[in-house]
Subunit: 343 residues, 2 copies
Amino acid sequence: APEKSSWATSDPTQKSSSPPVTTQQRHVSSRGPPLHGPDTPKCRDRAFHFSVSKKMINCVTFPHPDTMPEQQLLKPTEWSYCDYFWADKKDPQGNGTVAGFELLLQKQLKGKQMQKEMSEFVRERIKIEEEYAKNLAKLSQNSLAAQEEGSLGEAWAQVKKSLADEAEAHLKFSTKLHSEVEKPLMNFRENFKKDMKNRYATVEKARKALTELQRDLEMKTQQLEIKLSNKTEEDIKKARRKSTQAGDDLMRCVDLYNQAQSKWFEEMVTTTLHLERLEVGRVEMIQQHLCQCTQLRHETDMFNQSTVEPVDQLLRKVDPAKDRELWVREQKMGNIRPVDMEI
Amino acid sequence: APEKSSWATSDPTQKSSSPPVTTQQRHVSSRGPPLHGPDTPKCRDRAFHFSVSKKMINCVTFPHPDTMPEQQLLKPTEWSYCDYFWADKKDPQGNGTVAGFELLLQKQLKGKQMQKEMSEFVRERIKIEEEYAKNLAKLSQNSLAAQEEGSLGEAWAQVKKSLADEAEAHLKFSTKLHSEVEKPLMNFRENFKKDMKNRYATVEKARKALTELQRDLEMKTQQLEIKLSNKTEEDIKKARRKSTQAGDDLMRCVDLYNQAQSKWFEEMVTTTLHLERLEVGRVEMIQQHLCQCTQLRHETDMFNQSTVEPVDQLLRKVDPAKDRELWVREQKMGNIRPVDMEI
């Protein structure tokens, strides 16, 4: 079924479209509309609140474990990549961290490599089948015992014929393995590397923007803290004015930060879902082509059985008496027997 | 079934024993007991009778076509060698004649050659199967894509396992081809040549004795003819005495001749029946062993199907979602999603 495999060479990302996960789903337990503006009066409290209720991990704001609202999974039934790779992980070598997204990418690259290796494995099989077919075909052309006669001679000729058919079946097997398995497996990910590079760049860009804004945010938060620690009354008045200014700055900065984080969130969800579809596509594609291998193998045997059958039939018909009859009819040299001489 | 072929290496001549054909059957239309003795009175008439009613061909006495009594075949339903090779044939090259027995011998020798060639053919097949099995086994040891994971990884491992089983099946096929087909085919006629030589010598010896006696007989017949052509009365008296003497000599000679011919007849019948049994044995033996080839071939395929099945089953069980679940369970790095920062 060469048609079946045609989809395999097209972009697997276009195959299934899951319902999109939107930014709204970030906060599953809804707590009403966010309350921030340039001149809200509770800057300090919020700054304090911020420091205890949120946890910044690698520039990302997570809810603080102690006060964490319940978060439902985005795709509770699917063990989806988009639900399990938000955190970073210490590198096993101890230097730096690995982002969840990175681990997903590594899996993809490994999958790509596996697919390539399977294709190579199939190519080896093809070579073996080709050589086997070639040798069988050559033997079937062999003239050994070509002069056997009678019904045995017919059966013998069929033995050779069936060998030629067997060779043909294995050659067909190898040809189909090439066109229907090896090539599709090898070609499937032609655009994979470019695609992965683009997606990685997009997610990394969003992540970097977030990092920069976090640094900005930290600076502004420190500025606010310093202002409030001054003690003289004059200073306090001055500080209050400046604090309002700094508060406004901080609010704007938080806004930008949240926007950047939202952008990153979206990229993460979109891309992990994309990786997920790629992986499903890869596995299904390999599954389908390995099934095709097995199917082709079955066909090879089936075809052989149908070629072995005529040999069986002719062999069952072999009849030395009949053969002798034919030969004697042709070769006989007189059936008058000698008699005693009489005088 | 290695037991089945064990008879093949034993002497096929011991296999079937046809009812023996006796010398009595030479003259099928019975004409009463032969009437010859040393002093029967009708020598001349008989000599005359002999010259017109018998036909001597290559030293053998055949009934004369014009006065031939009806001869039934010794084995009317079997196209037996013993019924059709009593005459000699002009050599196609024109020099000399070929005895019927010689043609039978040639057929045997050709049959022996055919059997040897079939054995060689099977040996070639064995080599091909061995190499195929070796290559499949080597590929099944290959580590390509060994790191594939999940249900697909299991199916892939089974693909390799089934390849090893397939290799094993073909190796078994080649081993059995060797022990159950090639060797028996090759060994069957170990004693054939010696046997043929002995039989040929016996028949030839009988034939030669016949030839010598025929020469003797001709001489004596001529002597008798000469005696009777004398004309004077005294001579006629003398001749009658001598004639009686010569007649007696001739009678004894005819007796000896008939004994020799009878001996040759017996040797011919015995040996052609033996050759016939050899030929039946050869054909049945080859038939049986080629059937064995086909049977072994079927077994190879059947075995393959049973090894391909587990691959099929595992492939049908391949489930990207399940695989992802396993991987995510193991690798997950946090399912708490970021939230907007609030101040």
